[in-house]
Symmetry: D2
Subunit: 367 residues, 4 copies
Amino acid sequence: MSGNTFGKLFTVTSFGESHGGAIGCVVDGCPPGLPLTAADLQPDLDRRKPGTSRFTTQRREADEVEILSGVFEGLTTGTPIGLLIRNSDQRSGDYSKIARQFRPAHADYTYQQKYGARDYRGGGRSSARETAMRVAAGGIAKKWLAERYGVRIRGYLSQLGPLAAQSHDWSLVETNPFFCGDRNLIPQLEEFMIQLTKRGDSAGARINVIAEGLPAGWGEPIFDRLDADIAHAMMGINAVKAVEIGAGFASVEQMGSEHRDALTPEGFTSNNAGGVLGGISSGQPVVVSMALKPTSSIRIPGDSIDVTGEAVEVVTTGRHDPCVGIRATPIAEAMLALVLIDHALRHRAQNADVISETPSIPGVIDL
Amino acid sequence: MSGNTFGKLFTVTSFGESHGGAIGCVVDGCPPGLPLTAADLQPDLDRRKPGTSRFTTQRREADEVEILSGVFEGLTTGTPIGLLIRNSDQRSGDYSKIARQFRPAHADYTYQQKYGARDYRGGGRSSARETAMRVAAGGIAKKWLAERYGVRIRGYLSQLGPLAAQSHDWSLVETNPFFCGDRNLIPQLEEFMIQLTKRGDSAGARINVIAEGLPAGWGEPIFDRLDADIAHAMMGINAVKAVEIGAGFASVEQMGSEHRDALTPEGFTSNNAGGVLGGISSGQPVVVSMALKPTSSIRIPGDSIDVTGEAVEVVTTGRHDPCVGIRATPIAEAMLALVLIDHALRHRAQNADVISETPSIPGVIDL
Amino acid sequence: MSGNTFGKLFTVTSFGESHGGAIGCVVDGCPPGLPLTAADLQPDLDRRKPGTSRFTTQRREADEVEILSGVFEGLTTGTPIGLLIRNSDQRSGDYSKIARQFRPAHADYTYQQKYGARDYRGGGRSSARETAMRVAAGGIAKKWLAERYGVRIRGYLSQLGPLAAQSHDWSLVETNPFFCGDRNLIPQLEEFMIQLTKRGDSAGARINVIAEGLPAGWGEPIFDRLDADIAHAMMGINAVKAVEIGAGFASVEQMGSEHRDALTPEGFTSNNAGGVLGGISSGQPVVVSMALKPTSSIRIPGDSIDVTGEAVEVVTTGRHDPCVGIRATPIAEAMLALVLIDHALRHRAQNADVISETPSIPGVIDL
Amino acid sequence: MSGNTFGKLFTVTSFGESHGGAIGCVVDGCPPGLPLTAADLQPDLDRRKPGTSRFTTQRREADEVEILSGVFEGLTTGTPIGLLIRNSDQRSGDYSKIARQFRPAHADYTYQQKYGARDYRGGGRSSARETAMRVAAGGIAKKWLAERYGVRIRGYLSQLGPLAAQSHDWSLVETNPFFCGDRNLIPQLEEFMIQLTKRGDSAGARINVIAEGLPAGWGEPIFDRLDADIAHAMMGINAVKAVEIGAGFASVEQMGSEHRDALTPEGFTSNNAGGVLGGISSGQPVVVSMALKPTSSIRIPGDSIDVTGEAVEVVTTGRHDPCVGIRATPIAEAMLALVLIDHALRHRAQNADVISETPSIPGVIDL
């Protein structure tokens, strides 16, 4: 109830601070029989890991995950899977000053207000370091969705500050540090980031994630619609300020005759719905887009107050990402996987006896 | 788990179809001692009610709510509050045709896929008629938040199709059927709606809702952030396709030095965060914006398939809103109230002993 | 979270006071396609109903349940099922005196302490009248379990005050007002009850419920074991003070060599476990026994205090059951059904892909 | 939903198998500001630990708990507390045989049926080793309850096999390996256990736990009554087969005039209710008793089947407790603490504004 558990049937309960002994989580509800080793989870952890390019923070966390339970003889057993990553590259000395200051746009002030105290080292619990566990847990979900249903989940960066992608080629996404699929944009992104870092400022980003291959029928109408749970998951990622499904805000200016996706015997002909109708998956690709605000930790001085309410000038001097959106793609993919597996299990709990009794039609394969 | 309950400590469990005997809900967890009568809930129900202007559906539902339990001698007792609205103006004959067809952009196809069957009369459970119960339940939350914490929740329409408000005056919002605060826009909206209805088409809309007066400290970090739960609540409203908090998608193009809201001894100086930092309320107004897609039921014929997979042409002939966004303002307000009361209770469960031990600073009062 | 919802996947959310407008509940998570009418639920409601013999309270409630939603063309649709029973035979005048007194062994004092106020008419929310909704909801669960899995749930009274059954014949249970299966005991029970009523006192009882036919595999180990959830369900019935599974307290004096139920190729040879091993059903009959305390409302004067803390003498003069245990059998059956259906759904959510891959062995058919 | 999380506001999510890398849990919802170190949790872990007397299993687990998160500068921060105990004294070789056999009265058969596979080493997830984490988590709850409300939770063994305590002196309980408070019984218990071990058999036990000092008002009526949640907690402990609150099964033979606890201006005069009325604490001591079945692992050969359904003779040769009840006292105390802290938080979430507005009366201090 304190908000550290995600999901209802496939649950992830997370713990740990950026500068404590470890971060970890418990994944409960994973179906038995899934082949699983730590090596399955490491690739996405490495994609999220800091320090892999000059465009992210130069902190170096090994981020090697240990599976403590729930796997026996290489297969999940249906019992909870404990995951642990020991913290290594901490420089607590960097953070001593902020013990008494509230950094603007950070959670310092609100944690202090909520709990009457806070672990101020490196953001403590509010640090994005915690998202490594989401990526690890999401890796289990991704694997099960792929093996059991053939679901494929991919994401990419579609805009960084003012630079928006004009084209998209999936084959490029994993070849550059930005997860960008527009060949022409990549050099511009590099130059933009170099200038941004020089100025000591930071930039926002837009990330898209897409799930393909899921069947129709996932999602619980009324409050726990598939799109509502996706919005919950994405807005729960550090720095996310906005979420769209399908046409999103563009649907404000669409006419009904334009927005509605026609069904034909050959399948849907468009995907303004983003794969969700009435809160339930339609079998079309689920298409999600989100905005991440610029990193709050920047070298440019800013006005704030200290714990006594006095005015102070804050300068953040640690090693920070100039654009948190860059490393957000694997996190958003993981959260989408966690939503989908949860709804896959919820759906079959209630509807196991009627699943597949009705015909399914193809979705629009690409956007 | 089937998604018909909203909230964790202040819960709303909803039931009912548009053409069944009644719609209703159970509100559980309401603190005792709140003065409450059906008359407290009726004004918001009337604001949502169809048929109050020429610009909404001409169905006429009395929408008179009955309080069945949980109130004794005019005060809530802490036991569950049963709410009931009998359905009255149903014309089931209107819907017989759609029993075998899947209306495009409707939930017909996905309900059929999920459950193997569906109540096709008037959309059944997927009808927006169910939102009347959210408004009723939200009315209880609104009243408690106002009386206990002085929280004020208001909403308005900021765009309808291509027509976006250029100014905002709260005093106008309740004086026109669109909940619009831009005096110059109102006649344009009327004309636009008349033309839209003539063409038999529908339009999307953008709605904003704002909560003022809440203290810092509400929201559970990590997964159940206040903004994540708001996104869940809003995306769970029929037809909503996108949600923003504070600067929302505009934060993609902001620099960190521009986005961050300075704290000063006199209070915050801007509100790009939309009242939430690290998932916890900052004491600033909570600012939410959302997109509603155009109504799916339109008179213009569209391509679809029937339950056997054969191609059909669908024309929707019932009485439908040409813009569902128009009646969405009280629904969005209700959902925001439900999120806030839930987090108010969650916060004090864990933190009752430390609340108010730290100083609070003023927020930016208006947008 | 305020405790008015039972179950996790098949949930019952209950509302209503004994002297309010109605009692009701929402059943969420019922699989679609189950044939269901109010007539399916009425028999168990009639078995629980007061006033059907001289040995129960002479209040006369019609207890006719109305299905408000979730059923279409005679079949459940998978959407929430709203159930309602209007209150009819209330004599609020009977209860005016207790507004200021705390009746011993009642919930008057604790409700007042918890909520600062209470609906004192007929026990308000703490009245056993609320259990009618459990019986109605349990009727849906019973029907689904029977149709889908062939599960049969039955209960009987095995002791009333000092009178314990020495034999058990299922065919007798529904032929006497006590739900007793011991032919010789029935006339003794009648005489005992007549004397008890004359004295104005009340008596306790022991009730047994048994579920047969369920498969192995239901129950979630560690905290939500099948037996733990059964204990929760039974101890949550008004007046229940103790719960046993299988050998129960007798297992204290058993040796391990005596308690353990041997497995043979022909099946289990005994059932000390009561059908549950490690929190998971073994396929043997689930055997539950419980104690119900004597009715608290009796005509014999008792010492108590009033709301100001002053000593008072309390005499309860309304129409009350001299033994609440008599009407408890259908309630206990309903609760067992609610636990089982919930675990049936939980089991298949996680384990749908491995169910039935291993051989099952027969259980001991009778106790 | 897979049953590895206990509690709703103060939650414990457990993971780990007896022969995996570690066992651990996440405690979420702990109020901030509680002084906490691993040393606070160690005493109860040591009380539960195997190998501390000749009457328990001779396995030697250090059972040293590590606090991984949620504590900063010696105080809880309100964020989740990760707890970890590495497994050390495992002899996996002992268990190779049971890979293909189902030990009678164990969870082998049911885990296999449920999940299609199982970690057979030392019982895997079904091993009582997991209860070490309950004791650790319960230690946090105990400490908070004591510091915040002055609640004291204690337990003792009241019967072992046929040997029942005839007197009770709290000061003796921690001075003998049985947690027994009857001076005369202790030598008999020693002799009984020696004979039992010689025979290779095992015995059941009865454990009582009592909480004193809690206020009236804890517990959520209807389904999540305080006593119902206690029953759930206790029946969820390995080997527990029965639970009583207050008079328990004795209430079957009590008259209403005898069972009801009188309220007087000086306080309650008896405690048949066991501290709970209508599911809500009355301020009297909460009194719980439970039966633990004899250990299933015994050296006496028993009939069973193997994974192919063939008859086999099973002899359990590992190091096992001849009476699991002996080490159960700290586990039962921990579970009671977990129930109480959860309801303390639930109560104040809803009722923070009315708490303490009504007078409280003293309870019966001892049984």
